[in-house]
């Protein structure tokens, strides 16, 4: 009796595995990350780039305006291509750009800012990459547009290009 019962369980389990694998074969392997529109920005403490003091996220995103969080690093090559566009965007008064310096050497990062200019109203440091994970980032560069209710409106994976820049300008109008 007991043996039959075991057999039944094993067979059910095997059929289940078979169905899953069979269906899995149909699924595409391309990876398309989605974002839930309702997600708010997490509350965190982060080190300031210039003063090394700790800042609270509520203070960083304290003003009643649009924000864009840009994850960058001096070693990241696409960051260099998107930097001029960020400089252009920083002239816009209705949005503030927060830089998140991701797993970087502080000296290199400062050199980077001196060389290419500083579009950020504030830069915070993410030494071990945990903050980026908390935000739901996949890599560098990545940008999150945050609306006045402190919700993440849109996530841009990869460098910002001209089209995306226009889109951002449209959103914040």
């Amino acid at each position: 009796m007991k043996n039959n019962f075991n057999l039944l369980i094993i067979i059910t389990f095997l059929i289940f595995c078979f169905v899953i694998f069979y269906k899995g074969l149909d699924n595409l392997n391309t990876y398309a990350p989605k974002i839930k529109n309702t997600k708010s920005i997490p509350i965190f403490d982060a080190k300031d780039f210039n003063s090394s003091a700790y800042l609270n996220s509520q203070k960083i995103f304290g003003e009643d305006t649009f924000y864009i969080v840009n994850i960058w690093a001096s070693w990241c090559v696409p960051c260099r291509t998107e930097h001029p566009l960020l400089m252009e965007l920083s002239k816009n008064q209705s949005i503030k750009i927060i830089g998140l310096n991701y797993r970087d050497n502080l000296d290199n990062a400062k050199k980077f800012i001196n060389e290419f200019g500083n579009p950020y109203s504030q830069i915070i440091i993410d030494n071990d990459g945990t903050l980026s994970v908390e935000l739901g980032a996949y890599g560098v560069p990545e940008s999150f547009i945050i609306d006045k209710n402190k919700k993440i409106l849109r996530k841009i994976i990869g460098p910002i290009n001209k089209e995306i820049l226009e889109e951002i300008k449209l959103i914040i109008k």
Binding site: N3, L7, I10, I11, L14, F18, I20, F21, Y22, K23, G24, L25, D26, N27, N29, Y31, P33, S74, W75, V77, R80, N105, N108
Partner: protein, 627 residues
């Protein structure tokens, strides 16, 4: 052209012989004659010959760059060095399946020769079970992945072999790994046959143990070769990434290791029969499952050669047929040996081996869940996740502590019932291990307690096995050596993990980068032209804190066919540490991305794995082992 035809037809003939062998064997099975029909042996040899001929013709097509063959066209190129033309034969899906077949037929032929003193019915049934697998693979090759597809008009040039596969370690990695991986098929067939004949006993254990050892040794070395390749070719500077493909080779290794230990109990005490049978079935099933996972394209991995769903469905169905077959056989025929049940004493060799089994099963389930769970989740909820090293490390590393302790104590126990002898010397060894560890570890890590316990457990095993090796004069040499190798492996991995350091930066030519542990100077670059690639060689001078300078020359290769850029790391290996430098081209920029790593004790990881497999080899050749 000709080779192509010969290859295809010998493959078809090989399949026909399978049916012939089955017919003759079934006839002979009913026959009361005591000796096996000689025709069966002849036919098996013929089948092996056909597969060898087919394999050789594929190699010849590769050597001649015969692009009328689709497989050659897809995976070779005239400018490729001869060595890689040959290794390209098994560097692709079709060719590697032909290698599967080759190993399958080779092993069953060797089995027939080597098992002459075994019962006839058992031998024939093993052959029949093995032929089911062989037929399945013949059909798989011929129907879905024929290596001899003809192309017309004949292309002038091939598409080339993926450059990251053009590497000496990788050229021998597949054959060696396959000998272990596919070799488990014999264990599978023979245990199923032994179950039906109610022949799971000491004699069978002694006979199958050799096969288990052979598979285990090849699998161990095969995994190591793959790992060495990943270390210097993929340029991440690590040796194990918990990539699905690595996991699927680790899973049969875990069950095979458990099986190896169970068989010792079977030989000595005629016990743990269910364990032996289930582990034999599980090992081969996991090998097949691995083949399915990496070949069907259901998982993304370095080994996913082609995403042809037809292939995936074929292996999937075949895999489940084999599983159902083995389940039916197991539930219908297997009888647990009741008389020897329940007489395990807590302090005995049997119990310690049983404990080892449970550890292996735990590690297996962690790896299995980590590998398969993303697929399940994807299908059920369409959510994509990937399971990375933190998952595996968190679940596996803490359990190494008790495993290492049991490995130090278990082999010292006697069969049936025993006491721990030489308690004093054990306690002294233990205290020495803890003190040694504490002094080494205290300045290195923040998590002092955890690492002290972990490293001292490894040291404890290290010292106890070392002592056994030298004081007891190789009394139980193979076991001590293998366990010693394992402790050395864990120690090297741990210190490698704790002490490794990494610097990543972007540099221009002529720049100097100063960091906390020294400075890196980018001297110059040089361009060179080779047959199948152009290379950029960079010269770096690295000065450490003590002012010692070494020169490292990483390389970027731009292959012409297919057009792929690869980074070749330059590694300076010494007994104490590896210095590893790799650079990447930054497109449209004068910067190079530089990654410099200091990895202590890297070479000891490879050495300890070799020791581990050498222990297995010794056991294979030690005739009166444990008598």
């Amino acid at each position: 052209m000709l080779a192509n035809q010969i290859g295809y037809y010998s493959l078809t003939l090989g399949l026909l012989i399978s049916f012939l062998v089955c017919g003759v064997s079934i006839n002979d099975f009913k026959n009361t004659n005591k000796r096996i029909n000689q025709n069966i042996l002849t036919l098996s040899f013929l089948q092996l010959t056909f597969v060898v001929v087919s394999f050789l013709s594929l190699i010849i097509s590769f050597i001649n760059s015969d692009f009328s063959n689709e497989t050659v066209f897809n995976n070779s190129h005239t400018t490729k060095p001869l060595f890689y033309k040959i290794s390209g034969t098994w560097g692709n899906h079709e060719g590697s399946l032909l290698l599967w077949l080759l190993v399958l037929t080779l092993f069953i032929f060797l089995f027939l020769i080597k098992s002459k003193e075994q019962p006839k019915k058992y031998r024939i049934l093993t052959l029949l079970f093995q032929q089911i697998i062989i037929i399945g693979f013949f059909l798989f090759v011929l129907v879905t992945s024929n290596p001899f597809n003809y192309l017309f008009p004949i292309p002038k040039e091939g598409l080339g072999l993926n450059p990251i596969l053009q590497d000496p370690a990788l050229a021998i990695h597949p054959p060696i790994l396959y000998l272990g991986y596919v070799g488990t098929s014999i264990i599978f067939s023979s245990s199923l046959s032994a179950v039906t004949q109610n022949y799971i006993c000491k004699e069978w254990g002694q006979h199958i143990k050799k096969w288990v050892l052979v598979s285990w040794i090849f699998l161990t070395i095969g995994i190591m070769l793959g790992s060495i390749w990943a270390y210097y070719e993929l340029g991440w500077g690590g040796f194990w990434f918990w990539d699905p493909v690595e996991n699927v080779s680790l899973m049969p290794w875990l069950t095979l290791t458990a099986l190896l230990h169970c068989i010792i109990v079977l030989v000595k005490r005629a016990n743990l029969t269910s364990w032996v049978v289930i582990l034999s079935i599980a090992t081969f099933t996991l090998s097949m499952c691995g083949t399915f996972l990496v070949r069907s394209g259901i998982l993304n991995s370095v080994h996913t050669f082609a995403n042809d769903p037809a292939r995936g469905i074929f292996i999937l169905i075949f895999l489940f047929i084999l599983i159902s077959l083995s389940l039916v056989v197991f539930f219908l025929f297997h009888k647990e040996n009741n008389k020897s049940k329940n007489n395990f004493f807590l302090l005995s060799r049997e119990t310690s081996i049983l404990i080892n089994n449970w550890f292996m099963m735990y590690f297996l389930s962690v790896v299995l869940i980590g590998t398969v769970y993303p697929i399940f989740l994807d299908v059920i909820s369409s959510e994509k996740i990937s399971v990375g090293p933190p998952f595996y490390l968190r679940l596996i590393v803490p359990f190494l502590i008790p495993l290492l302790f049991f490995m130090s104590l278990g082999p010292r126990l006697k069969w049936i019932k025993s006491k721990i002898e030489n308690k004093n010397s054990l306690i002294i060894t233990f205290i020495v291990s803890i003190m040694l560890t504490f002094f080494i570890v205290k300045n290195l890590t923040t998590d002092l307690l955890f690492y002290t316990v972990l490293v001292s457990a490894a040291f404890f095993l290290f010292f106890t096995t070392l002592k056994e090796l030298f004081i007891k004069k190789f009394n139980n040499g193979p076991q001590s050596l293998a366990h010693f190798g394992f402790s050395l492996l864990i120690l090297s991995i741990l210190f490698n993990g704790i002490l490794s350091s990494e610097t990543i930066t972007n540099m221009k030519i002529g720049e100097k980068y100063v960091y906390s542990k020294g400075e890196i100077f980018f001297k110059k670059i040089e361009e060179r032209k080779k047959d199948n690639f152009n290379s950029i060689i960079a010269y770096f001078e690295i000065k450490d804190k003590n002012g010692k300078t070494i020169e490292l020359k990483p390389e970027i290769r731009i292959y012409n066919q297919p057009a792929i850029i690869t980074s070749e790391a330059d590694i300076k290996t010494t007994l104490l540490e590896d210095k590893f430098l790799v650079m990447n081209l930054v497109k449209g920029n004068e910067y190079f991305n530089i990654r410099y790593q200091v990895k202590p004790f890297m070479i000891w990881i490879w050495i300890s794995v070799l020791l581990l497999s050498f222990g297995g080899l010794m056991s294979l050749f030690k005739k009166k082992y444990e008598k």
